[in-house]
């Protein structure tokens, strides 16, 4: 059984201890608490050098130190502190860095509230457990052979065919029936390559429909999107070593993943509001009567400050943009305001839950909207945002990469 050390400031006081244990158990893992004595707390705390006022944070530091010093030997570490606690957030991040810099143990961090449920923790625990049990797969930095990656997302299904470290075919269709959509996307990916299903040496599936697709196509790898997207992003952006942040503003939900050496260690995901999603930009392009592919370049020419936008809401925000157009405002300014609105809301609602590490790799369909990428960079103080090639197929690329080296299905 995978042993996950809980390093926290007191999850039991928020009534979520049971939820954490339940989530770990679902993925064949158990939660352990690194045992330490009172004298060691002071010793470790002074050695660490962070002057925390809360004694639970001192205990947290000491537990992290006991892991680094090998007094406790977990397979993975789950670091959690209360959401909205500044002192907790500072210690959480420093403890995370400390463990990552001094050990090879996978770490996932989380800030919790009393509403944290096991369901929210599943994907983190699954990522932690699979990082332990599939370390060799996640360590893969090069794709070999002929592999197919399938990503069944909430809005679209993507397929990527890779051969010897190169993407040779891609497919993209809106998600309806999971299997049929996957078949359509895969057919598109095979087109013109001369290959078909029978030639493929490995199939990897990810996304919401990963289990359904995995069963149907007898996939060698069925993996949650946290590990797969992170891996795909750092692979395509050529950032496989060191830290990075992966941002995916999706059609229905957004994901922000922080990565260390290609392995995810924190994650925030949420359908916070349609106004902060790709759907808002889709509606804006329709109102402007331009194709979604033209929205980005149009936004780059405009100035968001010149368009009135008093609401982030997909209904009232769009109304504001229409009012601006009616008052003689330019389409470019309106497009820029829409991109700025989405990026600002993602920043306010989601990016604040996570420590942004450079470089920021923007992926997903919306990463092709250049105006949005510029708005994200501006909102984050002008940081460089990398949009790698095939960024809209990130999950499928990650699945195709990870499944390579898992053996040739033709040999079975």
């Amino acid at each position: 059984m995978v042993k996950i050390a809980l390093v926290s400031c007191g999850t039991e006081y928020s009534g979520i201890q049971k939820e954490i244990e339940k989530a770990a158990l679902k993925f064949g893992a158990e939660i352990i608490l690194p045992e330490i004595d009172l004298d060691y707390i002071n010793e470790a705390y002074e050695k660490f050098g962070f002057s925390a006022q809360s004694s639970s944070l001192k205990l947290m530091i000491a537990r992290a130190m006991s892991i680094v010093e090998g007094k406790c030997k977990p397979d993975a570490v789950f670091i959690a502190t209360c959401f909205r606690c500044a002192e907790g957030a500072l210690v959480r991040n420093e403890v995370r860095r400390f463990i990552q810099n001094n050990t090879r143990i996978p770490v996932v961090t989380y800030s919790f509230t009393e509403r944290t449920k096991a369901d929210e923790l599943f994907i983190r625990m699954e990522a932690l457990a699979t990082t332990v049990t599939r370390r060799s797969i996640l360590a893969r930095e090069k794709q070999e052979g002929l592999t197919l990656g399938l990503d069944s997302g909430s809005t679209t299904t993507k397929a990527v065919l890779m051969e010897n470290n190169k993407v040779i075919g891609t497919g993209w269709t809106s998600t309806k029936d999971i299997i049929e959509s996957a078949k359509i996307a895969a057919a598109e990916a095979f087109e013109g390559t001369g290959y078909n299903w029978n030639d493929v040496e490995g199939i990897g599936t990810t996304g919401y429909g990963r289990f359904t697709m995995g069963k149907e196509f007898k996939a060698e790898l069925i993996q949650e999107e946290l590990s797969v997207n992170a891996k795909g992003a750092v692979y395509l952006a050529d950032c496989q070593r060191g830290e990075a942040t992966v941002l995916d503003i999706g059609g229905m939900d957004n994901k922000v993943i922080t990565v260390n050496d290609g392995i995810p260690d924190n994650f925030t995901m949420g359908g916070i509001c349609a106004g902060a999603s790709g759907r808002f930009l889709d509606m804006t392009s329709r109102r402007l009567d331009v194709d979604i592919t033209e929205l980005g370049p149009l936004a780059s020419q405009g100035d968001w400050r010149k368009a009135m936008l008093n609401s982030y809401c997909i209904v009232f925000g769009i109304q504001d943009l229409v009012t601006t157009l009616a008052a003689g405002g330019s389409k470019a300014d309106v497009a820029a305001a829409a991109c700025h609105s989405v990026s600002e809301q993602v920043y306010e609602q989601q990016l604040q839950e996570i420590d942004i590490r450079e470089p920021l790799i923007q992926v997903g369909g919306t990463s092709l909207i250049s105006g949005l990428v510029e708005a994200v960079s501006e909102t984050l103080g002008g940081i460089d945002v990398i949009v790698p090639e095939y960024s809209q197929h990130i999950g499928a690329v990650g699945a195709a990469l990870l499944v390579s080296g898992m053996g040739n299905r033709q040999d079975k």
Binding site: K18, S54, K58, R84, G88, R115
Partner: protein
Amino acid sequence: MVKVAVYPPNSLILADLVERKGHTPLALQKQIRQKIKDPEIDSPPMNITEEDPIKGLKYAAIEVPSGVRGRMSIIGPIIDEAEAAIIVDNAPFGFGCVGCARTNELSIFCLRKKDIPTLEVTYPTSRDETMDMVNKINSFLDNLNELDSDNADNADNTDNEDNE
């Protein structure tokens, strides 16, 4: 007999000193004991559930971290019940602690503003300071006895007046 809140609220030494002087210590252990004895709840180790941080809203706003509100859901009722308080500042965790500096700040503030007899001492660092602290606590508790008997006399007089 006076109900005395002690802080840190799980300090066995403070609770013992209060009990020895014939008062009732209001300690965290009693609150936790009540919770873990409840067969209806199964949320180990302390049976604090999602509902408890919500109960803590009585003492701290929704913007305050859930850990503070969860702790206040247990410590808050102790503060509400307190008729006197003994606070030991800068105590090390071995003496008793709730683990969260923000909870400490809020709890001590709530005790201070309650306008009840309160003794605040700093945690001793030497033998002499320790004796001094214990003496101060004992004197404070003795004075509570007088206060208690004065209150009892006043209550009796009021009763007599009412009867007359």
